[in-house]
């Protein structure tokens, strides 16, 4: 059973769990009752997680200090995995991958081809949704790492829906034959995998060299959708040329811009209060002047009125009008002040990931005339 392909209730020994420490610190761990998960704030024995429902908060008292620390333990999803996976290459993030999957109409009926596998970020999202994913990677260590990871995540197996193949798709194409280095287990009389893809995703530097090879593995009797993911506009230009030459149509290139917002509060500071504060400052300044003048006068006149002035000081301090908490450290949202809810865009946005070039193809535009006649006749006879 894979934590990626089924909804699980409770955490069990051996599960892959994502530990959420903070928004940009999510750590995958394999639950092992002899292990301890260490953070800056304290140590969490895995034992504490076992048997708890997924989504549980785990809280501990930190040693020495009497504070407490906590983490959340989540069941992995492809989207959380993308935020926590070990990077072996550049990866595709959710704003791009989710758009591509929607535009190519991915569903359990989809048979998808993806090259190269890279860090497997997109592979996990595809694997969750499509009927079968054929992923290709030509870099040997990366292929092996991905294969190991996919196995561990329960994505590659006899009854599972991912096949990964070690292959330079630009040179040698996409066909998977008995004897190739692949996760596919060939049956006794099976010589080649019937890929029949209706969705293709190319995230490699020279998609134009891979496109001609697609003819061997795409489905012929239905519409096939393709997306090339390239950072440079020159790559797009070359890709368009080859797509046109190989009979792909409805070409369109787009860019996706994703943004995240923090929800924050800004203090409501009115003009009236600002004026009132100035008025207050001015009044107190005048009072101060008068006081000083009186003190001077009394000194000059040699009338000892000292105890009166001592009394006056603290009173004026206390009535100081300070509607915005100036000088004090005010926490955002402090209930003694008024606040306006605001959004703050993340400090650094991904302003360019890649260009997405889409194209479509219906290879065999034919129909079975006899079948149509049969349907019409049978409906007439009814």
């Amino acid at each position: 059973m894979s934590v990626f392909s089924e909804y699980k209730d409770c955490i069990a020994e051996g599960d892959l769990v994502l530990v959420w420490i903070s928004r940009d610190n999510i750590k995958p761990i394999k639950v092992d009752s002899n292990e301890v998960f260490n953070t800056r704030y304290g140590s969490f024995p895995h034992e504490m997680m076992i048997g708890k429902p997924y989504g549980s908060q785990i809280a501990i008292r930190t040693k020495g200090t009497n504070k407490f620390a906590f983490i959340h333990v989540l069941q992995p999803t492809p989207e959380l995995w993308t935020l926590s996976l070990p990077h072996r290459t550049q990866i595709v993030y959710t704003p791009d991958s989710s758009y591509i999957m929607e535009r190519l109409n991915c569903s359990p009926r989809t048979r998808a081809v993806e090259a190269g596998t890279g860090s497997g970020s997109f592979s996990h999202a595809f694997a969750r949704t499509v009927g079968h994913l054929y992923s290709y990677e030509f870099h040997q260590p990366r292929y092996e790492e991905a294969l190991r990871e996919f196995k561990e995540h329960g994505l590659v197996d006899i009854d599972k829906n991912v096949t990964i193949t070690h292959r330079d798709v630009c040179r040698d194409g996409f066909r998977i034959r008995n004897g190739d280095v692949t996760s596919h287990l060939f049956g006794e009389n099976e010589t080649e995998v019937a890929v029949g893809a209706d969705v293709v995703f190319l995230d490699l530097p020279a998609p134009w060299d891979a496109i001609p090879h697609l003819e061997d593995v795409i489905s012929k009797d239905e519409k096939v959708g393709l997306c090339c993911f390239s950072p440079c506009i020159e790559q797009v230009d070359k890709t368009i040329e080859v797509l046109n030459r190989y009979g792909w149509s409805d070409l369109q290139m787009v860019e996706i811009q994703g943004k995240q917002f923090e929800s924050r509060r800004q203090m409501v500071r009115t003009l009236d209060d600002a004026i009132e504060r100035l008025r207050d400052v001015k009044r107190r300044k005048n009072e101060g002047l008068e006081r000083r003048k009186r003190m001077c006068d009394s000194l000059l006149n040699d009338q000892p009125e000292a105890d009166e002035t001592v009394e006056k000081r603290p009173i004026t301090e206390k009535t100081k009008f300070n509607p915005f908490g100036k000088g004090a450290r005010v926490k955002e949202g402090d209930a003694n002040y008024k606040w306006k809810q605001v959004t703050k865009v993340e400090p650094e946005i991904k302003s360019h990931t890649s260009y997405l070039t889409f194209a479509f193809k219906v290879a065999n535009q034919i129909r079975n005339e006899e079948a149509i006649q049969r349907i019409l006749e049978s409906s007439e006879s009814k």
Binding site: Y7, R23, F70, E102, S107, K223, I256
Partner: protein, 443 residues
Amino acid sequence: MDPLKQLAFDQHVILRLPSGNRKIVQLKPNSSISLGKFGAFHVNDIVGYPLGTTFEIYYDGTHEPDLKNQNRIPVGKIRLLSRTENETGEREQSPLPAELANVLSSANNQKLVNLGNDVQGLSMAQIEDLKNQTASGEEIIAKMIENHGSFDKKTVYSQEKYLKRKKQKFSKFFTAEYLSSSAMLQFLLEKGDVQRVMDMSQESLGMLLNLANIRSNGTYLCVDETGGLLVYFLLERMFGGASEAGATAIGGGTIVVVHENEHPNLDLLKFSNYPESFLKDHIKTVSLLDFFEPPSSQQVEAAFTPLPKDQVRSLKAGKKNAYYRRLKWYNNQRQIITLANETEYDALVIASTLHLPQLVQRLSTRVHGSRPVVCYSQYKETLLELAHALYDDLRFLAPTILETRCRPYQTVRGKLHPLMTMHGGGGYLLWAHRVIPAAEPAI
């Protein structure tokens, strides 16, 4: 024939016209479909070809005029617009459209004088004649180029532009596409139903589906104020269509729709190609009142007890009907109890204009730990209020407001640039995870 791959009888499909407009039609056997100025065709002529095929309507002069109704668009014949031949064959040698391959052009348009319609040697009447007599759009356009006084003075760029404009005007081709959820959204947006679909965009919906981890075999709690569009997106992602009438899905999965009116509004699903029985199996609807104030089991059991089968059989006709009506009520009440009190949901997905903090916080009590809560809104401000409310509620982890926008480009070699205008909407998403707070640990 597989209705998910080929055009099938009685299926709803979406037609793309040369003008860029779209039209949803049903492919009724032996009927014809009119596309206005782009002509009309017989449904039987296109059924069986793959979804996504482009057809051309042409008139060879043999069609019979409709004597009763002169204004009726005559039904033409169908042939394939074989793009592949065009684009692989002729384009290989020349990057230009085939129509321009054999005409002269100018390096710049310095010599081009704007004479309006006078440069066109064909009169309006002659063009009308051409349209009636024969002629595919391509033939008309070829004639117009031939008779154009200063076509050779135009640059290649403006020749291409001219061609594109005329193609949109005279071509009688259309593409018959699968009616996906995205295609339905596109159709509604272009039709001007922006408010009805809450200004959603394909990219926002795509992101919602992924963030909510929608897939087959899930049980999802959903509020949909778009008349079923959001539910259709979920259905398509979970099942990818039902391949034959009544056919069972690849996997299981249920969408529980909570609605604010007495009856749910999922009208748009009538265009989907899922059989009624399929929708009934996979979509359950409960009103907000029933969801939050379900009847008690005791009440329901006290009001009605199902009879053994043989006893039912022996009931008289009138009584039998009454019995079945009450049995239906009973099953429905039991279902409400299950959905409201027992089911733990695998995601909460919302597109609603109800006040979100209350709605999301109350519905989330039924969401399983670690599962996503995703809320779509046309406005960032309503999600902001929600984010603050969820931030203070320990049952929600890291509420985040997200925006995603797709920027389309003119996709022509050597002339790549972002389109000059695009749809401005698309809304926003809030994403959080349902979590289970721990008690403060003992010392």
